[in-house]
């Protein structure tokens, strides 16, 4: 009824965006905030040490190991170029380039 231009919808939209912004910032700040209030044990420290690698490999696994040929080959190319050049930019070019070419020709 009100349409996208109505005042009411706009206020609701802005409040929704404000709510999204609030909960998102809470997730960003919450990890450090909670960690400052936790008692550390050696096992907890070991967990913390393992956390970055486990999170990053989880971010990448579904895409790199999707079972599709372009992604799999590109993942290998990325790793090889990283080992060879020890730098992120050429690795990214190799990955993106490989995926782009293989998707185009396949």
């Amino acid at each position: 009824m009100w349409g996208r231009c109505g005042m009411q919808t706009d206020v609701t939209a802005l409040l929704t965006i404000a709510g999204m912004a609030l909960v998102t910032y809470l997730t960003r700040a919450g990890g450090l905030f909670l960690m400052k209030r936790v008692t550390f044990s050696p096992r907890f420290e070991a967990w913390l040490n393992c956390l970055p690698g486990a999170v990053i490999i989880s971010m990448v696994a579904p895409s790199a190991l999707s079972g599709k040929i372009p992604e799999t080959v590109a993942a290998l190319a990325t790793i090889l170029v990283t080992i060879r050049f020890k730098s992120i930019f050429p690795a990214m070019l190799a990955g993106v380039g490989t995926v782009w070419i293989l998707r185009t020709v396949m």
Partner: protein, 241 residues
């Protein structure tokens, strides 16, 4: 960049610093990532236009929320009457992974003043966080890396939102150019640097297995949370044995 700014306070007991030099290293090293983020910002702007968001609403969302996956999810729900609670809860769930990422920064960020730490964390995104973890794990003590990296990604995301919302279909599908793989490639490159040898095989293997299963069966970003928790817990248990 000057010696002066490097010596500026922020010095902690164990040498964690927060200098202009570190800020610019983070800023520069994130330029390639910012370009890929730009491509996705164009897509976000286009979809925001199609979902009926005004230019102002799109810019406010990208500027205040600044979390791509949750913003795309919100657009999927953006229909009158707005399901306000559903959008906010979805945003929270999609962004819960930030809790783990913030926790991983604790050894360095707990040494910073609250203003620096919690200010920088506003700009934390997956890619900037991963680059920062790689830099800090290499023994570089400069915690301002995250702010520099986050800021260029922020600028890129915000300006691309404006451009995509204004011009419409500049770039409909970044995957046609392989740009969706840019983030995967960056994370893979960082993993090569984080690899510490055989002891990583089990926790990383568990993380991969759990994230693959979770990405198949669960929506959103649960695969990152569950894979990250499973892998790190296995690592912790193994360590204590």
């Amino acid at each position: 960049m000057s010696l002066n700014s490097d010596r500026e306070s922020g010095q902690a007991d164990d040498g964690v610093i927060f200098s202009a030099g570190g800020f610019w290293v983070g800023f520069r090293q994130s330029i390639p990532i910012a370009l890929s983020v730009f491509a996705y910002g164009l897509v976000f702007g286009l979809l925001a236009r199609q979902a009926g968001l005004s230019l102002g609403e799109s810019v406010i969302m990208s500027g205040l929320v600044f979390a791509g996956a949750s913003q795309f999810a919100a657009l999927g729900l953006w229909q009158a009457p707005l399901p306000v609670a559903a959008i906010i809860v979805t945003t929270l769930v999609v962004n819960l992974r930030h809790l783990l990422m913030g926790a991983a920064l604790y050894p360095w960020f707990s040494r910073l003043s609250p203003a620096r730490a919690y200010g920088s964390l506003f700009f934390m995104n997956d890619e900037s966080w991963a680059l920062t973890m790689a830099s800090l794990s290499r023994g570089e003590k400069n915690s301002s890396f995250l702010l520099g990296s986050g800021l260029i990604v922020f600028i890129s995301w915000l300006s691309a939102t404006v451009l995509g919302r204004t011009l419409g279909g500049v770039l409909q599908d970044p995957s046609l150019w392989g740009l969706d793989f840019a983030f995967t490639a960056v994370f893979l490159a960082l993993l090569v640097g984080l690899w510490k040898g055989k002891k990583d095989i089990l926790p990383w293997g568990v993380a991969v297995a759990v994230s693959l299963v979770a990405s198949h069966w669960l929506p959103g970003k649960w695969y990152i949370i569950l894979g990250g928790l499973a892998g790190s817990c296995v690592g912790a248990v193994r360590h204590a044995d």
